[in-house]
């Protein structure tokens, strides 16, 4: 204490002296890079003071300072410059790129690391890549952005849940979703909302995409082993925006408006066509025997959705404090009638240097989302589904203009106009931390306390016309997590060449969920809204569950002169989710690397080869997504067990006290290169990942008490492939620059063994994922297994299929199913081109998927000529006489009834390339802004999303991007996916 006082006195003295003698003056100048291009946003700070500014868009700055003061010029990716103010009042600065920008720091698990000596395989997605992509949740932002990351959007419905796979499907029965961690808090991502025909809403929607500074995707075991039991599907670390200490305060206001419309829809018959078809097929004798109405349902359930977004933020810092305060208001309308989403979100991130040994901080988000939902996929209350299936002579209104009930295929226009179907979520995600420097140089202790509290309220009310008697449903679900992490970090260099980077810690995480559901029917009036007014209570339920996870972890890295690098990590996790005999599991990794380009013998290559680094890693990680009590036997009560007012019990599952961790062993080889001062950067990684002790709900014959499966550790699966990313600055001269980022993830999945699983008639073991799909030993986990459709025989007019032996037949059986495709793509990726010319910027971003098959189950209905739903216009192509090459068998053919049975008739090649984002922006130059004194910058921009989709001819009317499950099995299937929306967005961003 005494010493500190002395220091302060000295400091005060110096200041006084300075004030007394310094001669104040205004220094101006221009900051440029090595190419002479102006650098906007460079921090110019008078060293040792709060006095600072930033360069404007032309690289100019102006600062009041004094002779003898030291100005520091700093900018990310450049070597900081210090210049002492002399007599001149003009100081122009040329910044040099920081040693190939390799000292860039990247976020890793429990810390940050220097990119140059990084051994872990990870992909970083920066804020520039995230801007201008209108996204509902954080997963959408990853699509096409990082090698080895596949994101499949499930539909164009607002808030729908995408599937995210990192380096392939790594599990069968456990979830295959990666772990998302926001500012150190692993998020709850269990589905809480109702499925409504499709699937639950994206549980990560509450993370406001506008708050995200960067995302880091951890891919290999070296990166994920410290997440132990949750690492095997990969981990996505989300870092939210912060203010830096000493950074000038910047206010930013972003306003945007967008219009969205549907991309692909089926062409359905009109009333006259279907009436005529019904006569021809003999359903009725004459068109007059059918209702004479006419209505275009598919057109009536879509619209142009109009959305508005306001995003305001303030960020900056003082000497000891940095802050970010952001808020978002958005109102979105989907292109399907009745689909709307409101988002209200605030975030406050703070960091403060409390003393010279203690830093504290917090990142806190609260968000509220009100999603006015619509059904999807396999639901007759889903607008698009019922619009396709509804007979076009059925009209939504009666002769008096009132809505009518249209029966089993519901009047979706009345439903969306009248009924209530809301999901409201409130979510708090926060983390507070304190970081203390301990006695030993380089040693710090950090404690984090995080929380993720989630409250969901769902309300449904279907009124008399749509549900006779009325129907109401209300549920409240809470999910509360808290997590405490304590860690010690050691980061130090010895003799300038021995660098040590280590972290060790422990973490305890507790999640509790609770939900209450009520449901009722029998309302006297549509003016009585809630379940309390019902006469019959079909559901009254409350449930609670939870999980506990305790882990100790450590990671230590050493490098010699940033050339030879080794790192190891370990984590031991205990989880309440596993069998008593196997509650604990240990996961580990080792990695090594060599920066070849820094070797003396590479001296001659420095002018063209800026980086050559080789890395290798091997390690293990686990997967705990098996539900909370999968190892226990259960006798359960409730409605499924009760009879006639008496409480009952039913045996629902078998015990497995030996249930243990699913374990992935992953090997990764990396080649990192940079050429011509990193204008060309190529990274190629090869990986091979074997998942053993697969947690599988091993199906057993139903004759065992009707129990479907036993959750066991059996079998193994392998994913292997390459992740390639190539970043090039093609042109950087004068006013024009052009850069390209390409990433490709090549993945092959193979099921290695499934002991105890079903055996098909070829003797192969398999697990059925859906009626169309299986995980088969020796094949992909998402192998399509179907009867092959061969077409309509032009001579006979009969539809023909192939038997298992390849013979043509008109009456195939289930034994004729064979392997016909794979829902997993051969490769996925993204291609981004960024052009800048003077004040204009243009961003062209494609994402693509190649070699995957998709199954459109809905075609079994819309292409069933013998059914009584509406049909696609393709069905008009009926065989009529020998020689016809028709789509549909003849009306008299016995196969007319079986034509649409499940077969490759509904299977398509799902390869596509999509212009996901096209953005044109203009940033106003100084001349304009001078007129408006308080503005520092204005950018206007226009963005189009999903403007163009390149796909197969037989996907006319079908969106190639489909999934009706986020589970590992059954990928690439859909009933009727509402297509992705085409969105046009116009925005303006003000900086103050």
């Amino acid at each position: 204490m005494k010493r500190r006082l002395q220091k302060m006195l000295t400091l005060l003295l110096v200041l006084v002296v300075q004030i007394a003698f310094a001669q104040e003056k205004i220094v101006t100048g221009t900051v440029v890079d090595q190419e002479g291009l102006p650098l906007p946003g460079v921090n110019v700070i008078e060293k040792g003071t709060n006095n600072g500014t930033q360069t404007d868009f032309d690289g100019n700055y102006s600062i009041r300072t004094s002779q003898g003061a030291v100005l520091t010029f700093s900018y990310v990716g450049f070597v900081p410059n210090e210049i002492t103010v002399g007599a001149s009042s003009v100081i122009d600065v040329t910044m040099t790129v920081d040693a190939a920008a390799l000292d860039e720091v990247v976020v890793v698990a429990y810390g940050t690391q220097n990119k140059k000596t990084l051994l872990q395989s990870l992909s970083k997605v920066d804020s520039e890549q995230l801007e201008d992509i209108p996204a509902a949740g954080p997963q959408d932002l990853l699509q096409g952005q990082a090698a080895g990351v596949q994101v499949v959007n499930s539909s164009g419905i607002l808030g729908s849940a995408p599937t995210v796979k990192i380096r392939g499907v790594n599990s069968i029965s456990s979830g295959s979703r990666p772990l998302f961690v926001v500012d150190g808090v692993p998020l709850n991502d269990a589905n809480q909302t109702t499925a409504q025909g499709g699937q639950a809403l994206n549980p990560l929607n509450d993370i406001n995409p506008n708050d995200i500074e960067s995302m880091t995707v951890l891919k290999d075991a070296a990166a994920t082993a410290v997440y132990g039991s949750r690492g095997s599907n990969g981990v996505v670390l989300i870092t939210t925006k912060t203010g830096k200490k000493g950074e000038a305060t910047r206010v930013s206001l972003d306003l945007s408006t967008s219009f969205s419309e549907s991309t692909d829809r089926f062409n359905m018959m009109n009333a006259d066509q279907l009436r005529q078809f019904s006569v021809e097929k003999g359903r009725v004798d004459s068109v007059t025997d059918l209702p004479q109405g006419s209505f275009n349902w598919p057109d009536a359930v879509v619209r142009t959705g109009y959305s508005q977004n306001v995003d305001a933020s303030v960020r900056g810092g003082s000497e000891k404090t940095g802050f970010y305060l952001g808020t978002t208001f958005s109102d979105q309308e989907g292109f399907i009638i009745g689909n709307e989403l409101e988002r209200r979100s605030v975030r406050l991130n703070l960091n403060h240097e409390a003393t010279d040994w203690l830093n504290v901080g917090a990142s806190i988000q609260y968000s509220y989302i009100n999603n006015d939902r619509v059904g999807a996929e396999n639901s007759t209350f889903a607008p698009l589904t019922s619009a396709y299936l509804q007979s076009p002579w059925v009209e939504p209104y009666d002769e008096n203009g009132n809505y009518r009930n249209t029966g089993f295929i519901a009047n979706v226009i009345a439903i969306e106009d009248l009924d209530i179907n809301d999901a409201k979520t409130s979510r708090f995600i926060g983390n507070v931390y304190a970081e203390a420097k301990l006695g030993l140089e380089g040693l710090t202790f950090r404690t984090d306390f995080g929380a993720d509290r989630y409250l969901l309220e769902q309300q449904e009310r279907s009124f008399e016309i749509n549900s006779p008697g009325g129907y109401a449903y209300n549920s409240v679900d809470q999910q509360n997590k808290w997590i405490l992490t304590n860690s010690l970090k050691f980061n130090r260099s010895f003799n300038d060449v021995h660098n040590i980077n280590a972290v060790a810690g422990m973490s305890y995480e507790q999640t509790d969920t609770r939900g209450i559901d009520v449901e009722g029917t029998g309302f006297l009036s549509d003016d009585l809204i809630n379940v309390t007014s019902a006469s019959e209570f079909s559901t009254t339920s409350s449930e609670g569950a939870g999980s506990r996870l305790f882990g100790v972890f450590g990671r230590a890295g050493y490098n010699y002169d940033q050339r030879y690098i080794v790192e190891g990590s370990v984590r031991r996790d205990g989880s309440s989710r596993f069998g008593l005999n196997n509650q604990y599991g240990t996961f580990w990794s080792v990695a090594g690397g060599w920066v070849v380009s820094d070797e003396a013998f590479m001296g001659g290559t420095g002018d063209w080869l800026s980086l050559l680094k080789l890395t290798a890693s091997y390690g293990t990680s686990g997967n705990d997504r098996i539900g909370n009590f999968a190892s226990l036997e259960s006798f359960e009560g409730g409605a499924i067990s009760n009879y006639n007012g008496a409480s009952g019990l039913r045996q629902l599952s078998a015990p497995n006290p030996d249930l243990k961790w699913e374990r992935s062993k992953a090997f990764n080889l990396g080649l990192n290169t940079g050429f011509f001062n990193d204008r060309v950067a190529l990274t190629v990684e090869y990986y091979k990942k074997q998942t053993d002790d697969l947690i599988l709900n091993v199906p057993i014959p139903y004759t065992n008490g009707g129990i479907n499966s036993i959750t066991s550790n059996v079998g193994s699966m392998e994913n292997r492939g390459f992740d390639i990313s190539l970043n090039t600055i093609n042109i950087a001269s004068g006013d024009f620059s052009w850069s390209t980022n390409l990433n490709v993830g090549i993945n092959e999945n193979e099921v290695l063994s499934l002991p105890g699983a079903s055996v098909d008639n070829q003797g192969r073991q398999f697990v059925e994922g859906s009626p169309a799909q299986r995980a088969i030993v020796g094949e992909s986990v998402n192998t399509f297994y179907l009867i092959r459709y061969a077409g309509v025989n032009p001579e006979t007019g009969d539809a023909e299929w192939l038997t298992a032996d390849g013979e043509r037949t008109t009456s195939p059986t289930a034994n004729d199913r064979v392997i016909v495709g794979d829902a997993n793509p051969d490769f996925v990726g993204g291609l981004r081109n960024t052009f800048k010319y003077k004040n204009f910027d243009l961003n062209v971003f494609f994402n693509f998927s190649y070699g995957n098959d998709i199954m459109i189950e809905g075609l079994r209905f819309t292409d069933n000529p013998n059914g009584n739903f509406n049909l696609r216009t393709d069905l008009l192509d009926v065989w009529r006489q020998p020689g016809d090459n028709a789509y549909v068998p003849g009306f008299d053919s016995p196969t007319f009834a079986t034509f649409a049975q499940r077969s490759t008739l509904q299977l398509r090649d799902g390869s596509f390339a999509r212009l996901k984002n096209l953005t044109l922006g203009y940033t106003f130059g100084e001349g304009v802004l001078d007129q408006i004194g308080f503005l520092d910058g204005v950018r206007i921009y226009a963005t189009a999303n999903n403007l163009l989709t390149i796909k197969g001819d037989d996907l006319d009317g079908i969106d190639p991007e489909v999934t009706d499950t986020v589970g590992a099995l059954g990928q690439g299937e859909t009933f009727f996916t509402p297509p992705q929306s085409k969105t046009y967005l116009f925005g303006v961003r003000f900086n103050f």
Binding site: G407, F408, L438, G469, F550, F635, P701, N868
Partner: protein, 464 residues
Amino acid sequence: MKIYNKLILIFLSVFVVSCDDELNLQPEDQLTLDVSFSNKETSLGVLTGAYSAAQQDDVLNGTRQAYADYMADNVDFVGSFPTFQAISQFNQLSNNTSIEAGWDDNYETIGATNLVIKYIPTVEDVAFTDEEKAIAVAEAKFLRALIYFNMANIYAQPYSITNGDTPAVPLVTEPFDAEVQFPSRATLGAVYDQVEADLLDAAAVLGDSDNSRATKGAAEGLLSRLYLYKGQYDLAAEYADNVIQNSAYSLASDYSFYNTTDSEFMFTLLNSAADGQDSGEGFSGLYNPVPDGRGDAPFTDNLIEAYGGMDTSDKRFTELTQIGNDANGDERIFTSKYPDGITNADNAPVLRITEMYLTRAESNFREGTSIGDTPLNDINELRKRAGLSELNSISSVDQILEERRKELAFEGHRRMDLLRIQLPLRRPGMPNVEKSNPGDQKTIFPIPSREIDLNENLTQNPGY
């Protein structure tokens, strides 16, 4: 600083110790097998669970009955749901998901009854008397017999053709105890033998106080049906007569007994909005017109004619039908035996005494006997209730069968009533008549391909 370090170490170590207990988190609403059979209340809860399992739509609550009707001549299937449509057109495959679900749910129910039969006798609870235990076991045996009987009839060719020698379904009589079993199919004869043994056991113990659960009358009634299907008409008549003589049951005076616990029923499964039919594909969902139901299953013209056409005075038509829109929006005749398509709270009529009159009449007629009463009197008893003129004589068994059809329509009898006497399921002029003959491959269900793939001891039915 040293003090800080020590504090942190202490903090860490305390935390590590305290976490171990936290990992042994227990579920809030689950019991184990041992606890479930540790006392009278929870063990009887497992029996209640067996009834609850039987409430699943494709066990006793209508789906299975509807499939049978889709195959036969009472119902004109107009829906478009592919798995149902396939059954109605005799082109179902072994991977038909609706058929697979039915197999699953029926074996769930069998599993629940097996638990009761094995473990209830072992429960140690002084409050649980041997007599109470015996009744619980008898109820479970009745349920098990009922489910096996229903399953055997849809997965095996009828006894009248095969004499019970072809495979039916696996006969599992032990509960699941974590050791997976791979049983092969028992013959229809063996399944019928088990059904008979269970029912005889049950009839010897059960009383008749509560027809919402298994009763002696229900056990004897089902025995009567079993003997009828096997062609053992003397036994069929005898057991039917036993029930008719049982004072607990009596022929209702009119048709208002549906969805009540009237003494017409020996066993009716009671449903409510909150606890009953579970899928919308049960009696109430499938047999009602839109918008309350799916409108999939209107009367065939042939059935309307059987009642005497639209102008008939047969109360079974005038009082038990409704006019409504079918799935296509066309106005059709539907049954009103299950009127609650909104909350699906209608009861399942499992066994009622009218069937006993019909069985006694048919069996006596075929045997030339008059156990209990004459066929003419039995039939006239039913015709009187229907508001029809009494017959003077019965010249053909067809007259009895016609009454049977009209009485029991939409209650799950028609398909077997045709097959057991070797009649085609469809009448001439109906679609797919040629595939509906007794013994035709697709008049019975395939063993679900899932089960074949998991259990190499299972054989598939021909044609799948």
